[in-house]
Amino acid sequence: MATPSIQTPLPDEIASGAAPGQLEFTPQQLLANDPHEEPLIAGGVLCHGGFLDGDYVSPRCLFRTPAIQNWQRRLLDEGHALISLPTRYVPPHYPNYAQAKLLLQQGVVDPITRSLTLISIVEGFGARIRDVPLPDLRGEIVENIDGTALAHLDQGLLEAHARDEAGHRSEGGHKQMWEAARDLGLDKPEVPEDVLLQMMSGQRRSRPERAFPDLSERMEALISVMSNVMVIEIFAEDVFEWAKQLLGDPEVSADPAAGAAMVAHIQSDEKPHVQYLRTALSELRARTLRSEDGKREIPGQQVVDEIFKRQLRGMATQRPREQREQLRTEVRQSFEDEARATELARQFDSLDSGWVFPHRDDEPIEILLETA
């Protein structure tokens, strides 16, 4: 039986400005919007995207979506694979829907507000992806990269991603849209004072050793960043489902329709991110990398697979553990009345889905490969 994987396919039929098989695009094209009639206003803030015939249209997809499809098709036609990851590696959002609903029903809103606010802030930090220093791709990759996603990273792809997440000039992005979803669903809750502190408190991890010290630092960093962000984006699918369910629940949401719809808009905007990142990583995987001193050649597959697995393991084990511990502490401290807090913690724990990463630290993990 085939292992289920994260596909998050792009829609097949696209109103596109791109020609069939077109592989070269200008930055202006990759940042161009589809036409829409009405703008998206979220929480009184003008955001990106808009509505055409009542349907939400994601921003900057006029050329970007068909471009990614064309690059993927080319890669598959050349006999290479697109990387993906099995669904069983994706940690469910903690707290799950039932746990989160319990908290809201008990009037314990802060953990959910904190969680949604942190998501919005982290989304905003996605803007920094435009600042990733790129290596000399043409010099450090043996084969030609014309007509690939790789060659377009600094030609609009990273910039489009950055704008989607943090907004650009007068238009808000996912940061503002998550804030709006939170405010719609939870009726403009007061944001806990410790949100920024919590974001900063779990950050002091030691800097791991280089996996491939022969490669330039920038090359290894680029692969790490793309793997890291791709894993985050794939894991986010579960966050979207959780948030749509919770903020769309009339029993606990102040505006279920609008709250869930806002999350759905963000979810739709994120699809190109997963796709361009997996395309660029797969293109690297299909090529050969040159060491920094130019004396060695290393198969891209070896490098990408190793770094991707490393990122995946860290994201799927360490972070969920930290988040889980943090939230359980918050729940235990939710009421001054100790008996009441203990009872809530007991109910909360009883609803836990009990997910654990399916491999021990010393067991290998797999990457899924999608072929033509």
């Binding site: 802030i121 920024l196 974001m199 002091r204 800097r207 960093a221 790490s224």
Partner: protein, 441 residues
């Protein structure tokens, strides 16, 4: 006649007031003289470049302060931090008062310690260095050994400093009133004096400084990267603090850091992380991160000193500042306006464009014309220049202190060959850049 009685005698009080008055008159005349001359010749007095006048005045004020010490030194230090209020030559010259204070005679220091402890120095300390390790406007620090052999740092307030402060404040207040009567468009100096007096009253009570240090030590109780020297509470009074003597490398001593094998990039990242947590997280911070107050041990571990200037930020300030930085990064004007207002800025006319102009000028002064999260000295200078020129009525003091702190940290980072990016060092993953955050997962 004892030094204390001498310093507080009417003749000395008169002499101090006269010297302050003379300096103030010189400063005033250097501004007014050329204006009268220009008017007499039919020239536009506002067209004159006053840089040289600012420089000469600042030098004279600094010389007077070094001579009279006490409040004048403190005033120079305050002016040196208020780029929003004073022209750059004043800020540059008077900020020298941070680390160019001549020490007091040891006998004066001995007397304060013995008075406060009610016993001779050698009843408490087995050794007491007569040469101070540091001297500041209100106090100086000596190394000493307790009877049990423990090495300590003893911070001792200058004798009679409270009376000197009162004398100088009275003289300066009088001069300000005279100035306001004579000048048709006076600079509003009295509110600044009020603010200074408020802070000085707090700073002159060392028990408050001890409280600040204890509080910040508590905030970092579980963090081994921060060391706030422990205070011997039983030996600390309103004028004396006895604390653990902690050694370390001055944060800007690049050679010593390198010799000790301490990575400068990790120093910058770590220091930014510490200040981010204080300012954006805890809302309470040591507001004077100049290089003389920060030492580094292997780790890196940061030894932070001097909590006389510590600030409780209002609720929501951290998030407001974060939103301001974020909106400046994306240049989202509507979000910028909201953030400025949340931080407590207000304009005379209520015109929101003023905020956008402030941000535009600040961003324009960055290295590449964009804001990526670093408050460089050039950017904060430009912001405060814009504030002086624009019809801003209310600039929150908290913002000024925070901007100055980040600007000082930026200066430290640049000395170490790196950048002090606030957003990068607070970002998810926490390292200095998206690049590093990927490595750190």
């Amino acid at each position: 006649m004892s030094a204390l009685r001498w310093i507080s005698s009417p003749a000395v009080r008169f002499w101090r007031s006269a010297r302050i008055g003379y300096t103030a008159a010189c400063v005033w005349l250097r501004y007014k003289g050329p204006r009268w001359w220009d008017r007499a010749l039919g020239r536009d007095p506002d067209a004159r470049d006053l840089t040289r006048v600012h420089e000469r005045n600042a030098e004279q004020i600094f010389e007077t302060a070094v001579h009279l010490k006490g409040l004048l030194i403190k005033m120079c230090q305050v002016i040196g931090t208020r780029s929003d209020f004073f022209p750059p030559p004043y800020v540059k010259t008077l900020s020298k008062a941070q680390d160019q204070v001549p020490p007091r005679d040891f006998e004066q220091i001995r007397r304060v310690v013995e008075e406060d402890f009610g016993k001779p120095l050698d009843a408490v300390f087995s050794e007491f260095e007569t040469t101070p390790v540091a001297a500041a406007s209100l106090a100086q620090v000596h190394a000493a050994k307790l009877l049990d052999g423990q090495t300590v740092a003893v911070k001792v307030q200058y004798p009679d400093i409270d009376r000197i402060v009162r004398t100088d404040l009275t003289a300066m207040r009088r001069i300000c009133r005279i100035y306001e009567r004579f000048d048709p468009q006076p600079i509003e100096l009295l509110p600044l004096l009020d603010e200074m007096q408020k802070h000085l009253e707090l700073e002159l009570d060392f028990r408050r400084e001890v409280e600040n240090a204890d509080r910040i030590r508590g905030l970092f109780a579980n963090d081994e990267s921060v060391l706030i020297p422990a205070v011997h509470h039983e030996l600390s009074t309103q004028r004396v603090i006895v604390m653990e003597f902690v050694s370390g490398i001055k944060v800007t001593d690049t050679d010593a850091l390198q010799t000790a094998g301490i990575d400068a990039r990790r120093v910058v990242n770590g220091l930014m992380s510490v200040y981010n947590r204080m300012i954006l997280g805890f809302g309470f911070f040591q507001a004077d991160p100049h290089p003389g107050n920060i030492f580094v041990q292997p780790g890196p571990r940061f030894v932070i000193m001097d909590f006389g200037l510590a600030k409780q930020l209002p609720k929501g300030f951290g998030m407001g500042l974060f939103e301001l930085m974020f909106s400046m990064m994306t240049f989202n004007e509507a979000a910028m306006i909201r953030a400025f207002e949340e931080l407590g800025f207000a304009t005379k006319t209520g015109a929101e464009d003023t905020y956008v102009e402030l941000a535009r000028r600040m961003i324009g002064a960055s290295d590449d014309g964009t804001f990526s999260g670093e408050f460089t000295e050039e950017m904060t200078d430009e912001l405060f220049e814009a504030i002086r020129e624009n019809p801003i009525v209310k600039v929150p003091t908290d913002f000024v202190l925070v901007a100055r702190a980040f600007s000082l940290l930026s200066g430290i980072a640049h000395t170490l060959g790196h950048r002090a990016n606030v957003l990068d060092s607070m970002g998810p993953g926490g390292a200095n850049s998206r690049t590093e955050s990927a490595f750190s997962s």
